[in-house]
Symmetry: C5
Subunit: 91 residues, 5 copies
Amino acid sequence: MFLGRVVGTVVSTVKDAALIGQRLLIVQPVKPDLSATGKRLVLLDCTGAGPGELIYWCRGKESSFPFLPEQVPSDGTIVGFVDELHLERGR
Amino acid sequence: MFLGRVVGTVVSTVKDAALIGQRLLIVQPVKPDLSATGKRLVLLDCTGAGPGELIYWCRGKESSFPFLPEQVPSDGTIVGFVDELHLERGR
Amino acid sequence: MFLGRVVGTVVSTVKDAALIGQRLLIVQPVKPDLSATGKRLVLLDCTGAGPGELIYWCRGKESSFPFLPEQVPSDGTIVGFVDELHLERGR
Amino acid sequence: MFLGRVVGTVVSTVKDAALIGQRLLIVQPVKPDLSATGKRLVLLDCTGAGPGELIYWCRGKESSFPFLPEQVPSDGTIVGFVDELHLERGR
Amino acid sequence: MFLGRVVGTVVSTVKDAALIGQRLLIVQPVKPDLSATGKRLVLLDCTGAGPGELIYWCRGKESSFPFLPEQVPSDGTIVGFVDELHLERGR
């Protein structure tokens, strides 16, 4: 999984039927020190996340598991909120 | 999912049987500010998108979900149109 | 899917049983303007492609769909020939 | 699979139901010479690994196999500890 | 699939049960001209490959196909030996 911060939303009315009712969030991937890294993505969400929140997301087909038995064409889904990050001293 | 703009089409007559009847679109990935980013791809489409349109696409096996129960060998499919993008102020 | 040109072949006698009878082609990925881009790969083929031809290929598990019901361990398969490419003016 | 060293943990209370009870570890990918390479990731674990340990991890949907029959939305899981690494002389 | 040369081995006693009995090989990816390219990986093997040998490997979930019906958490498996490589003249 990857860390990220929600920075925006996408509005889309015409889309694959399995995506109806799904929110589309723009996420900036971040490092464990919370600095930005890499390109912004459009992710689905199964947690109720909103702009500004620190989350982690799962990519690939397994990102459609939270929506089973519906087969949602997602390749990236927010699966949890980050409460705290602990890094080893000296690492 | 990823943002992109349709910039062209591919004509292909000899192809895997599961691809017959599918349109092949050339897409330029874009950032949320709509500037180009990364390599152009050939994508399938389940939305009726055409050249010039701003879309988002899904990659990986899950990009074949819109065509179920047929098992289309797609690794990238346009799954929706972008109406609006909202970015958090200061992000 | 990705555009590429077939540039060579691999001869392999000892291999996974599901690959017996499959041709292995070396492919150079290309951009829509047909210039080379990225690393050469070894791909399977379900179209009868040969050296010099312009093709498109599919990556990931879905690249094994053309061989179903056999479960061929492919992560990249040529799925069609390119007849023509059309790019929008000014893009 | 990829080599890595566990460098931290993520605390998360609100998450997808299938992730409840799973530990989230921050891992620094390493080369066979154990130098750091690439971005840190958040991984699940099926081995009982802890901070400081040298492990290898599997990415993609197959990283959810250790949790079957539950369909855990994981795209990266620690699947074993490294006891020793042997490299060919001159390579 | 990708070309590579086996350059080492990993010894691991504590691991996911589905990996017991599997050999873990360190592989250096190579180009068709056999020069090294990209990061070394830890791969499973279904061919009996050993250090020094030129092989090709498959990545992703399909790399677990050679071990079916067991669901081995592999994201990269050596699936064949390279006997010869042929490249088009001028390419």
